[in-house]
């Protein structure tokens, strides 16, 4: 039986009187990647921000490992939930070691003085993400791929069982993208993490995610296994552009292609009243 780390039930959230999220219900289990896909403005980042407590929700319930979200203060939440943002948001003047040590913040005393145990955890996190040789370098001098691994190490140091990742691979080239996802996969297995990952590259989703939730206009359009959910109908409708799905010859994962026969596809869509 899988363990539910996050249970979201009927969640609404708004920014300054404008409602962004409508009736979101999702579960995220330990040991899996739930990919969050959808067009820009669908509410993916808002959902992440709501789950970190930065944005309060107006209706519904969130349970974190069985505990009601509202009863946890910032400090407790950050022991459960780590956020892996995009690397461009990192201050360049800290060393890699300092940056990863910041992940220990929820466990430090009021002086912020790390102990022997904290240093041990940081060293271990550097090793697991294979950046121990970069410890003394300034973050600003690293490549995008290395910076993204620094953020993974920081999340590891935070020792949280839930990871929220907002487009972590956006600035990475093909090699670093695959490498990054491989590292994440390995960590998920070792630590039984529950990962919610906003992804734009639908083919990454097909290859790596255990489940996918497609968001559309603030709602969960559908949620399920990549093969079941990444269909031509669903994606054409949500992204409002014709697509074609082919199957990976070895893994069987769905591969999403832009449709080459625009006219033909458009006719089909028109028949189904999806476009004008």
């Amino acid at each position: 039986m899988t363990k539910k780390m996050i249970e979201i039930t009927s969640l609404d959230a708004s920014y300054a009187n404008r409602q962004i999220l409508y009736n979101i219900s999702l579960d995220i289990n330990a040991g899996e990647i739930l990919a969050l896909v959808g067009p820009n403005g669908a509410g993916k980042t808002t959902l992440i921000r709501t789950l970190t407590g930065v944005l309060p929700y107006t209706r519904g319930r969130i349970k974190i490992d069985g505990t009601d979200f509202g009863t946890l203060n910032h400090n407790k939440r950050s022991r459960y939930i780590a956020v892996v943002p995009q690397a461009r948001d990192l201050p360049p003047f800290f060393t890699v070691y300092q940056t990863v040590l910041i992940g220990r913040t929820p466990y430090l005393n009021w002086l912020g003085q790390p102990g022997e145990k904290d240093h041990q955890i940081v060293k271990n996190a550097l090793k697991l993400t294979q950046i121990d040789d970069l410890a003394g370098r300034l973050v600003g001098d690293l490549s995008g791929g290395e910076q993204q691994r620094v953020l993974l190490a920081r999340a590891l140091a935070q020792d949280a069982s839930i990871w929220l990742m907002d487009e972590p691979t956006t600035n990475l080239d093909f090699h670093h993208q695959s490498h990054f996802i491989d590292v994440v996969k390995r960590l998920i297995e070792e630590k039984q993490l529950a990962v919610l990952m906003v992804v734009h590259d639908l083919n990454l989703v097909g290859c790596y995610a255990n489940r996918v939730a497609i968001m559309h206009q603030g709602r969960v359009f559908t949620c399920g296994k990549p093969k079941e959910v990444l269909t031509e109908d669903n994606l054409s409708y949500v992204f409002n552009v014709p697509v074609q799905i082919i199957t990976h010859p070895e893994t069987g994962a769905p591969i999403v292609l832009p449709d080459g026969h625009n006219g033909l596809e458009k006719n089909i869509l028109q028949e189904r009243n999806y476009v004008n």
């Binding site: 780590a82 003047f93 929820p106 912020g112």
Partner: protein
């Protein structure tokens, strides 16, 4: 990151040397040996000083020593709070003088002094409080005017600071013109960047500075976390609002206490933290204490120059810090622009 402990030792040694030099150099020179002997005798009661003229001991204990300590504390306060403001606003150009907090504190101090010129130590303790109110109001205004959404662009912070400090300086000048003759003279000296003399101002500012310094030093880790932006800081478990309030309180209190008795001295809070970042690195847990030590020695050196360059004429120390600090400011501006941050 260089060796942290050695950096502290170096800062302490520089502070000791500049302090002895500052106490010794003046119209009546006192050699370092005699200075040390006098100090150990007067403070610790050790050693015999029969061979040293009594006037020399008087000059040292009644004029030079309180003045040097005042400069040391002021430099430490301005530089420590400069480092804290830079961290809080994530802006390398933030300085108590440039963002207008010093001028606001100055106005607060002048209001208190022109209502009632302090004649005793109790009266003196009220001046930093009034300066603190002025500083807090200023920082609130500057923040509100320079904020664009949730961001605080570097240029607008400085522009708002310049505008508000011009405004508060104008009110300060008006108040000074309205005041009695002898108060007027004292105030124009003070707000040209001179200092009040004697032991009383040192005693009056010390408790405020101690509170401010302790709060600044314990804010080091929070400032580190805040460098990742408020949203990430919150996600990392920091109580962002509490942390920010503590930094604003501590930095403004330190600035206020310094300005109340040493006048408005610019650029110390900019130069010192920046040099320490360049030479040692950025970690606010050490950057703040190192800036406090470095600020003390830097203002002692500036004060020494102010007293000796055109002796017997004594310049306000604010002139010396502006002469060196303003070009430094422009240099940092170029560097920051080149980095594109």
């Amino acid at each position: 990151m260089k060796n942290t402990r050695n950096t502290y030792y170096i800062c302490l040694i520089i502070l000791f040397i500049t302090f002895i030099a500052s106490v010794g150099i003046g119209s009546v020179p006192i050699s370092p040996m005699i200075t040390v002997r006098l100090l150990t005798n007067q403070i610790l009661g050790i050693g015999v000083i029969d061979d040293i003229p009594a006037t020399m001991a008087d000059i040292l204990m009644k004029i030079r020593l309180p003045h040097a300590i005042l400069m040391l504390l002021t430099g430490a306060a301005l530089s420590g709070s400069g480092a804290a403001y830079q961290g809080l606003f994530r802006n390398p150009l933030a300085d108590p003088f440039l963002i207008g907090v010093a001028s606001g504190a100055g106005l607060g101090a002048v209001v208190a002094m022109s209502i009632n010129w302090p004649t005793n130590l109790i009266g003196m303790y009220t001046i930093p409080l009034s300066a603190f109110v002025g500083a807090i109001i200023t920082i609130f205004l500057v923040y509100q005017f320079s904020r664009v959404g949730k961001r605080l662009p570097m240029a607008s912070l400085i522009l708002a600071g310049v505008a508000i400090s011009s405004f508060t300086n104008a009110i300060t000048s008006l108040l000074m013109l309205q005041s009695k003759e002898e108060v007027h003279r004292a105030l124009s000296w003070l707000f040209g960047g001179g200092a009040v003399s004697g032991w009383q101002p040192v005693l009056a500012m010390f408790p405020y500075l101690l509170i401010g310094a302790v709060c600044l030093v314990i804010s080091g880790h929070s400032l580190n976390v805040l460098q990742f932006g408020e949203e990430q800081a919150q996600q990392l478990g920091l109580s962002v609002d509490k942390a920010k309030l503590l930094v604003i309180f501590a930095a403004s209190l330190s600035t206020a206490a310094a300005v109340a008795f040493a006048g408005i001295i610019g650029f110390i809070g900019l130069i010192v933290p920046h040099l320490i970042r360049l030479l040692w690195g950025t970690d606010y847990r050490h950057l703040i204490p190192l800036s406090i030590l470095g600020g003390g020695s830097t203002l002692l050196i500036a004060d020494l120059l102010a007293r000796t360059l055109f002796a017997p004429q004594i310049l306000p120390v604010g002139i010396v810090t502006a002469l060196t600090g303003a070009p430094f400011f422009l240099w940092i501006l170029r560097r920051v622009k080149a980095e594109g941050t």
